[in-house]
Amino acid sequence: MKHEIMKRIPLLAVAVFVATIGFILDGWISIEMMNAIDTVIDKDRELFIQRSLRLMLAVSLLVPSQLLLAYLKGLYKKSAITGAKKHFLKQIFKKDIRSFQSDNNAEYLSCMTNDVKVIESDYIDGLFEIYANVMNFIVGIVVIAYVSVAALGVGILLGVVGMVVSMVMGKPLEKQQKQRSEFYKDYTIYIKEFLSAFQIIKSYGLHAKVKDDFHKKSEHIQERGYQIDRIVSYISATQNFLMMGILYSLMAFSVFLTLKGALTLGGVILIINNMEKILRPLMTISEWLPKLNASKGIFKRIDDLLMIKPSEPESVEINDFKAELTFDQVSFSFEENVVFDETSFRFDKGKKYLVVGPSGGGKSTMLRLIRKYFHPKEGIILLDGTNLNDIIKESYFEQLSNIEQQVFIFEDTIRNNLCLYKEISDAEIWSAIERAGLTQFVKSHAEGLDRMLYDNGKNISGGEKSRLAIARGLLQNAKIIILDEAFSSLDRQTAKQIEKTLLTLEEVTIINVSHVIFEESKALYDATYLVKNQKVSLVEA
């Protein structure tokens, strides 16, 4: 990801260049100001007016340069942030299908909202701040040196002392702040628990006890916060004392130089003003450097997350499912558990299968093996005689249709949600809608198929989403339809109905993983598999 941002160096360079011009302008103004002030000591009014005009000319250039800088800085940031975000998204999208289980998704999102955000604020901004301030520092030095090298020397010395002071003081300050946020974290957890248990507290009449507890906790946390504030006060007072001392020392030194004739009044004013131009960049750089350093770790974390594991080579393209999908002596383990142990079974074309078993028994693993998310550790899965490992995913997926319990709704029309952007005739769509029991849902709004669905279907009931998923599945005209607890959000009547519809589809293999079974439809299945105890076995009717 760093690479993406580095691509924007040219823009950064232009922005820094314009900023430098601004700093040089500042420096020029300082010098003109010094000249103007010196005419006062010499009581030369004419010269004063002349120099003042020059000064005003320089000042007039300030505004346009600042505006240009704002524009260029914005351009750099936009380009860098956009590049970083797009790179992130592109890499995520490239990942293998098995990487998109829910835990991972939360991680990806958290990485984008937290880590990438930190890169935006700490790294991208930081690059500009550091380079610009380095230029500022250099210009400041040149300007002061022009007037008095001695003052420059003393100034830098004092500046370094100042930086050391603030770094040394900074550490204990940070420690205190960290402690503070730790307390608040625990306090927050306590409050969350209290809120969740509100009804219980009220119904068991525990108000008094809880109130007492909370009062104690709050007093505690406020007191600890107070202690920390006291320590922080001492630290910042000391820091301030030292900084003030440094500033005044420099000023005293400059005034001393005028007494020795080595400097003019104008020179003193210039030095005072420009010392700030030297110290502030140093402060800013010392603030940003640690952030930049910290971002190294974050880049690594991001890049690790985005890494795409090399996948097994696939060479065979298929365009049909002809006869059978066979599991032959398949063994598979997931983390520590043995899920399957040398089990064999098969699915024939056009037949209807019911798959049952206790939760955690391996049904979903079986589906993932069928979907090529995993490869069997031992044994082989054959599609029409070809090893599934060798078959190209995309061509295989064309043959499969998946109907899940959790349905993903795109922010798009009902039509697109059903067809998944493929060209399908309206007649076919309506047929699928009817078979899925979705007719009323679609007809209930005037726009019908062109109605927009928003927010991942927030306003649609669970049952309607399921039916949408089923219609979607039907429209894919796949040879194998896999249902993964697809009926659990439906009431029994609708579930029975849709099941019957599916079971009467010709030439389509149905694999229904479900814990809801109806007596009447049991007979329509060609076979029932029980996934239990590391085996998949046929259930005798």
Binding site: Y184, K192, D229
Partner: protein, 556 residues
Amino acid sequence: MKQLLMKRKKAFAFYLLACFFPVINQLMSQLGFALMIGTVESQSMNQFTLALAVTAGIVVASSLLQLLSRFMRIRFMRDTLLDIRLEAFDKILSESVASFSKKSKEVYLSHLINDINTFEQHFFHRLLNIIFGGGVYVFSIIILMFLDFWFAIGILAVSLGVFAITKTFESKTVALQQQVSELNEQLTVKVSNTFNGLEILKLNNIEEKFLGQTFEAVDHVEKKRFHYTVFTEGQRGLTNSLSFIIFIGILMVLMLKAFDGTSIGKITFMLQLANGCVWPIGQVVPMFNELKASIGIYQKITGTQAGSPEGAEQTSTEQVADVPFAFHHEIKIRDLAFAYDGKVVLDGANFVLQKGKKYLVKGPSGSGKTTLLKLLSKVYEDYDGQITVDGLDYKKVDINSFNHKISNIYQDVFLFEDTLLNNITLFKPMDHSKVEEAVERAGLSELISTRTEGLQMKIEENGKNLSGGQRQRIAIARAILRDSEILFADEATSSLNEQLGRAIEETLLKLDSTVIAISHRFYEGITEKYDAIIEIKNGVLHEYDSKVYFSEGVAL
């Protein structure tokens, strides 16, 4: 708000005084600086040494003053913030369960944490800054008026001009910032949804299209952010340039005075005072708004808004609910209709619950199972239709007598930092043998036997040292021990393994209480022992005899 501040009159007075100290510090350091510069004109070594000594004194004095100021302030802040925390908490605690449930927990969490932090930031810090900025401004102008009246008037005019300029920028900045943050939120939601759906996108080979769409959304956000950056950076640059220009303008005006004989020292002092006057107004006035807003936050979280009723026990129906709860036969639900968050959950539900029977509530997620339980446990009171217990309207029942006779087992278990015993008995004195029995039946014996302290074992903060299953068993033990008339259970065994879940389900079904439970688990041989199954479909309740239900649609 006034009450709160006036509670500690002396401390508050000290606080205000402490806020003035920085003003004194600033004026002192400006004086010291002017003295120093004055010696350049006089070229006198003596004056230099004197000025040096004075300056050193000023540095020491200022640091001490700063420290003193801080100490005076933080003490007052600590006490006041504690008061606010307690007030906010007490307000929440005093709410009835019904009105509490109307808002999401996040709102209350925000009241107790974020809002108080915001208040601390905005109220105290802004107050300090207002007093500082205002103080510097007023004193500087006054001193300038003594030094050079017309010059002071000029500076006054300039400061008002600057104020007008900064005001015009303000609202646009706020608006832009909000837009950026909204767009960012939208992007996050969009990306989150897309990640969740990527599996399907990949299965259907349509990821490319979505990548394109997501890219567009990113461009959209960043374009807005670009506007924001250019605007704020531009504003900052402009403000800096303006401040520089004004400084130079003041300098030139003052230098002209020098030609007329004014001393350099005096000019330096005037320059600093003038420069210190120009910007404060622009910075201070918006702070008044933030101060007002933070007072508003205080009023919101402690319920002391003008016109709002203190304490929120009254429901909108204004019914007197004082009949003691008596359940001997049945609870009847008639034409019950209830909507939550605009969505209709129940629409004409009818049902009869008979005393002593065990009911299992089933239905897909979002169908209203939890809502039904809440309606039956008097959490929600603003429904249409009727719920009667032995003929008496539920709404007339006294909530306290009701709460005494029921118990709940919910997903979230609240534990006190106390002994396990107290967490089970909930601080009521109970027969030891009954406690032991409850512990046994809830499957907690194992946990107790592993600790030497047994029931006296300390539960740490929020039950950190316990697993989800152990916490749930404590909730179950509580319910068993209470031996109430009605037991409401919402996924009571969901955190337990199959074996333990079975045992507990069996225990619950053997209780004398009327049980109304939501569960998606099926325990062969046990779950069929429920007397009836209630299925919620389309806002209506269907009752099924459990034997019929389970033989028809049950897993092998």
